[in-house]
């Protein structure tokens, strides 16, 4: 079972990476990572040396931070003529639609839970005294 769990966990992590960064993620990031993502978002794909110069970082510092961002799937790195280049990967904007059957699904999920409890709808239909007319 541990194998199945690990595989599912890996799938989830992979899917998370594929999702890329959302602009919303920028707000929750540590400052040093955000600085790099903002630079790459504003300038587009940049060679490592240019990024280091703009961010005021050494190559070792920038490589460490970019590694963390790559690991999360927030930036993509590639080599062009042997020179490492990086760009932001924003990915797909999340869908906003709330499934129309959400209430039915929730009802299904909670079926059996607290069956003895008073139905809120009944409570609303009761008068202030709580007595059913």
């Amino acid at each position: 079972m541990a194998g199945l769990f690990d595989r599912l966990q890996q799938d989830l992590e992979q899917r998370e990476k594929m999702a890329g960064i959302s602009p919303v993620d920028l707000l929750d990031m540590p400052d040093d990572l955000r600085t790099l993502v903002l630079l790459l978002s504003r300038k587009g794909e940049l060679p490592l040396a240019t990024l280091c110069e703009l961010a005021g970082l050494t190559e070792a510092e920038a490589t460490h931070l970019l590694g963390a961002l790559e690991e999360k799937g927030f930036v993509l790195g590639r080599e062009i003529k042997g020179v490492p280049h990086y760009r932001t990967y924003f990915g797909q904007r999340r869908r906003r639609e709330v499934p129309l059957d959400i209430w039915a699904s929730l009802s299904e999920l909670t079926k059996g839970e607290g069956d003895d409890a008073e139905d809120p709808a009944d409570a609303r239909s009761s008068g202030p005294s709580g007595a059913t007319p």
Partner: protein, 251 residues
Amino acid sequence: MPKIVSIHSFRGGTGKSNITASLASLVARSGKRVGVVDTDIQSPGIHVIFGMNETNVEHTLNDYLWGRCSIQDAAYPVPQPVGELSIIPSSIKTNEIARILREGYDVTMLNEGFRDLVRELSLDYLFIDTHPGLNEETLLSIAISDILFIVMRPDRQDYQGTGVTVEVARKLAVPELYLVVNKVPQSFDPDALREQAETAYGCPVIEVLPHSEEMMQLSSEGVFALAFPTLPLSRSLQRMAAVIVASSEEG
């Protein structure tokens, strides 16, 4: 160096699109190459000010985001006596608005589209008319802006949200951030209002724009600063445009 200028407000109805249309037109007429993108995909509107409608728009930002066309294909030139102005409208077709809300889109494409547009049209300025509030495309627009105008009205409903937006813009390290107080009744003291806003938000107020009866009469059937160039509101917009151009020339 091309500049990205975003005009944003936390709440709707602040006059953001009219301000964007006027500023973009004024900057273009100072001899610059200007693009305007309507990223208010959920409730587009700036195209109306430039006389565009379903019959004279073939491709929109939505088409680009769905991979149906290049971003340049969705750019419509608006003739100017001096300079150049192109508008990239969002779709006003109900099914297309619904589709983008339902299916989402690739945010990287939007960001790359901005850059492609600047490069392919050799733009000096790209103006982004945003959707009110804070959502993903708004945050992207703020994140990549060189200059951000946050428009608010002297209305309590605008105060708190504006504070949040200023905070977000600071976090996203926008190089130039200005507040614009719009639709100010004549009975208000503009200097006192400016001082209050600057103190409250710790951010410069670039202009306090008076409520304008002529703006109401124009009903978005034209660019205000061009239709009424001598009115006080237009004078303020001209000063704002001058700040944008000067900022670019400085750096």
